[in-house]
Symmetry: C3
Subunit: 143 residues, 3 copies
């Protein structure tokens, strides 16, 4: 079992609400690090963003998810006190979550057929970071 150094990935978002797929980034980590078996802890170090795993086939799914979340948590509410005007972003972050754990088996990410991993922006556009910690159980070099 080998923990690898924490990696930081840059994510540039272009809208206030946006789901940016990062599955290929993670696949590149798995390939570059020769991971045969292990797990990836994908962590968002921001309080108005999140990480999730959802459909990567029809882009309308992202639209509908973001639209529903924004209907549930619109930017303005009469009872919001936080002066920055992004209380909705904080709530969405808490509802979706700051982190996902992705397994690696046989040198591949363990994902369902339609699943992709997403960085969720809820207060963009911004330059963001995504941390990836790999805990390697077996490398491809091992027999």
């Amino acid at each position: 079992m080998t923990p690898l150094p924490l990696e930081t990935h840059k994510v540039r978002t272009t809208s206030r609400n946006e789901m940016v797929e990062v599955t290929d980034h993670l696949r590149q980590v798995v390939a570059r690090r020769n991971i045969l078996e292990g797990l990836l802890i994908v962590y968002v170090p921001h309080t108005t963003a999140a990480a999730t795993i959802n459909e990567n086939a029809d882009p309308d799914v992202k639209h509908d998810m973001l639209a529903k979340l924004s209907e549930l948590a619109p930017q303005r509410e009469r009872y919001y006190r936080h002066a920055e005007g992004n209380s909705d972003s904080h709530v969405k972050s808490a509802m979706v979550g700051q982190s996902v754990t992705v397994l690696v088996e046989g040198g591949q990410l363990v994902l369902g057929r339609w699943q992709g991993v997403y960085f969720c922006e809820f207060d963009g556009p911004r330059d963001r970071e995504l941390f990836v910690k790999v805990v390697m159980f077996r490398s491809k070099g091992a027999d």
Copy 2:
């Protein structure tokens, strides 16, 4: 520290929205694998289902949770674009989450008195899968 082979559990759901308790499945994994100390990563490889930990005493809690989630994300919204008619299921999946980590101590799942682990179906009925990855810290065979 020993990672065990990924296990796949079948879950057959019978309603569009349903919480299926899988705690006993996990207990059987712990017993069969002789796990004294470790952790279980329980992962849902679907984009319209989820995993959570909640009350397993009064079945009305499941009813109320599913009813509230369906009120927040009804199946139809005028602004939904995704043609499959299950955008609500994707949103619920993101709100509840795709994965839970369950600790094992002293050969037992670490759960609160009223807690059970649930597979959450949001677009059933379907035949589903639940992945379980065990990372074993100590086995019962060890001294």
Copy 3:
């Protein structure tokens, strides 16, 4: 890689809905255990409480998050069946989540500039517990 004994932290809440910051508790665990690199699994063994990571600068953020969650899931709904009157608390618990994983690098919690770790009470006031499992990759004593 060394798993440390499960720790239980007491959390006393004073309101029905409340976010109690526990970041300092976790920092003390890291210091006391001499953790240089590792991860902390922070687990809430209750079905009407949760754990999350969010802003720890402006306390108005906590107010706004709790207000929004209570608007989405008010205590009473005509369709609730659970007799204890806390179905809203169970839903909030599922939406926010029972557990967070916090990385440790260079002897420090890996958190964004504005992030703190919170125990979320949704059915207080109560005496609660928070479990912390440390998986240590490297200790400060190691070279």
